[in-house]
Symmetry: D3
Subunit: 220 residues, 6 copies
């Protein structure tokens, strides 16, 4: 099932990031991430630094965002992020950059970043973007190339490519080195283990068959 | 429709709180909220204080949590919070206390607090509580009176009264004077205006009829 | 001497907490405390996490607050706190919950929490509570069951059970995972080593005999 | 009664500071305090700035610390602080400087700063300084001119001039623009209104006559 | 003199930003900047919000970055930033996005951002970028389209278009809504009023004629 | 070359500090720096603590500032700082104290502290001090003994001894345990490796010979 594969690949990314993020003020010029120590041997609220004497230029540069990641068949999008793994000099700098490639008529599904606000700039194609505030008010906007849009911190938001032929490309800045992603649909129907049926049914006022059907289609 | 009424009453609360919250360190002994200035005339990232010469003991005490709020028929729960409106001395103190009354077999539906972690203590009845991390792993636990449970900051979580006869009562501490609430089901199906159909369908891989049916039952 | 025993038991608690507290924002979903590494082998401004792959539901739940601790004979109260030792999932979540049991006519003696504000809810009995601001103004209030009261961050405060027969029970939320406690009377008369006599005498404008007498009664 | 006069003069200072302090990061080059708006007309968790076009060099310089304040007869010390009133350019800069003049055999009585750590440098004379941690351990040290000493954030501390002839002079840096002062003896015996007798007696295990006598000598 | 014009236009931008920036955590869903109140009438360490009832979608979207600004003749670059003026929904979100257009063989002169780290992505052309740490170690890197580079918070850095024909285009994310810019050459030679000659001469160990010549060429 | 020696000695200090600084809130009473672990074996965004059971009074006191450091021949000044190496109890306390000795007609060259604001008090001699804001406005002031002056966070500033005979002495408080120093002249002309000539020339609109001459005189 393609959907779950995609969700899973996003989840893997998040798992890895989830273990290591850190957003204090930088407390020295830089603290280049020691990803081996901080994510495989010892674990902190953040990651330790390598010996400053071993810092070199390669820690501050990356080509990670130069190419689109593979776009999935079902959801049809890919998000590529800078992280302490591909750009270790970002550690303690409080920022992530992302490139978002979205296939025709495809959706970056509603999700929130518990630790970051986001500003997206559309470079190619056309997007319908939006977010939902805590009073359930929906704000939506059509973007053309060059347009920027703010997703306030923690708010559920989405990006939808309304064009049926052209793939869209956006770049985002996020205000944390580890924004985190909580996607609404897998959180409701594709957790491991699955939510108790009673809760899924009450959540959307649906019946057993609905729950089973949605879980299956979302790979849960 | 009872459901939407309940959701609405929760939303109203959130709207009001949403305008005024503030979680910096207290920068003087206290900054008793001037709710008139800070929520009706001028608006800040936080609320201003009343003249310190007018502060009196009433600003630091409240009976708000002494009684359960009215429990709705459909969702069957009520959350009562301290806030700068009923306890203005809380302004800048970085805390909210909540009492949660949950009817038999009723659910405090999956939601997240964008600005707070939460610890709940069950005082009466029995609850199944849980949260979902950003890797879609579900953690659940049965609570008995006296048990406490942590909902980490920003994570989607729920409380379900598994008893068919006894109403449950819990008290929570939250790490912000304005935690905010983003509930999964109204965010997906009961926003104003409604999400474009294409997005709702893709979100849960459902069809037009599903979308219409769920929206109706959720009062969207 | 009972007094010093009680003070000591409170001190022990504080010592242990004192070594490990940490109140940054959570920088990943959770950072379950590795209390062995962070409090016995290595020491940080905060505590490290266990390997996220070893996190399980037991780290987020506790029955610590379900029973009253033993109430001392002289001061006649007991404070039981959640901490990274009994609820390791609280690490980095910025909160502590406390249950406070106070015998008839007993006093939780004036003290301050250097790292937290506090909101107390009275569940049983009746209390006279109060705090003193930095201008030496005293705020006091009688609480009945269901009433809540704010102790602003860092201010000296107390809770006094005015009833001669009924034991009181309160629950508090505190805005730090390691609030810390500095109690006025042992800080003045029961330190180790003792304060120089000259300082104790000047502090309260008392004489040598007063100092000796108070020290003895406070177990100093 | 000289004592109360001195305590009062310190309190007045603290009251004024208490209304206006603010220690966020500076969010622009500077935010020169508008002390009229922020402390007499409107009140915030911090103080507003004057129009940046009206900023001039006088806002960044002061001669406040060039002279010792008047030393009281009973306690025999004087603390002079930079503040947003005499050095408005300090607003949002997170620092206070203090000069402390202490008469022969006089004591800067045990107190804590709820919002700041402090480092004192002795310029003239000789001092015995110390602080008490939250486990009631006392740390004391004799200082000679040129020596520096750390008072950790929020800890009760004191400075005692052990010389019977020479006045001492120290300079301190404090890590907040509004450190706040909570002095142990007036908080216990000279509040307004006074603490209930029962609480004062239980606090130090003393009797009614002791309470009356100490209150009188401390001007309570 | 073109140079000073360019420097001046950048300064104007910075002046305006300098008055209003604010980087606390967002304390409610959003705090859309009230730029009239916060930058013309009243002044704060940050800017106030408009009435939340008047918030609409236009506050979260902008086309500001869709076109290059005018490139100056002497320095030959232009930086266009999102700000609370063109994208008021960014207020309190802790981010700025910038587009940087650099003419052939032109230099974005060494400068630092006192309140932000930066990650730049090269979209077109080729750049030599670098930063200098507080030990005066220089890190430089050639970037090709798609490459990203980190400028750690507060460090002096530059971007140089090494191509003699192709204009370069980069996009940056910065970790503050008001990063601030302090450029090395005007700070040394084009301040108003000018630095005393003695200081300029000692700063670079140069003579009176050097000082005069450099000041003239930099428009000081 | 004396100049470079002096710059170097300052740089060495900064390098060491640069590896270990940390300015979070203190999260326990104190976290006495374990400088061996935190700066030679493992590296963090901050430094770890020693076992609290090994803390003693020596960690909180130092005579570091009691004597002037050696004043260099060319620049003619010396800055002596408290740090986690000479005063390990300062770790996590957010403060540095500095003594600044400046020879006749000598200059503490323009520099900025990326992580601290500073307040200087002149104890002896006479100084011309100043800072430059991000709009290139210069603020300067003559100080007499007892005068204090604010250097806002991150702004380029200098101290110049205008007296041709008397050595000046100032004490400063800085709002970080690791302020960091970025000095304008070595950053421009004495980096290792050197800045590309093209950039140095464009930076100050000077020619190849100027660049060579300044580099030589600054020891670059």
């Amino acid at each position: 099932m393609e959907t779950s594969t995609i969700v899973f690949s996003m989840s893997v990314l998040v798992v890895l990031l989830g273990l290591v993020g850190s957003d204090p003020d930088p407390l020295q010029d830089y603290c280049v991430a020691d990803t081996k120590k901080g994510t495989r041997e010892n674990f902190y609220n953040g990651v330790p630094c390598i010996n400053p004497q071993n810092v070199d230029i390669s820690h501050f540069a990356t080509s990670t965002l130069s190419k689109a990641g593979k776009i999935g068949i079902v959801f049809g999008f890919n998000v590529t992020l800078t992280s302490i793994f591909n750009l270790p000099g970002m550690n303690t700098q409080g920022l992530t950059m992302a490139r978002i490639d979205i296939g025709p008529n495809s959706l970056v599904s509603p999700h929130s970043h518990p630790r970051a606000s986001e500003v997206a700039i559309l470079l190619k194609g056309s997007l319908l973007v939006g977010f939902i505030n805590t009073s359930n008010h929906l704000f939506t906007q059509k973007l053309r190339p060059g347009d920027s849009f703010v997703f306030p911190k923690g708010m559920i938001h989405f990006l939808y490519n309304t064009d049926s032929k052209v793939q869209a490309l956006a770049l985002s800045g996020l205000s944390s080195q580890n924004p985190g992603v909580q996607m609404a649909s897998p959180a409701a129907f594709a957790t491991g283990p699955t939510l108790p049926d009673e809760i899924s049914k009450k959540l959307f006022q649906i019946n057993d068959q609905d729950v089973t059907r949605i879980r299956t289609s979302l790979g849960g």
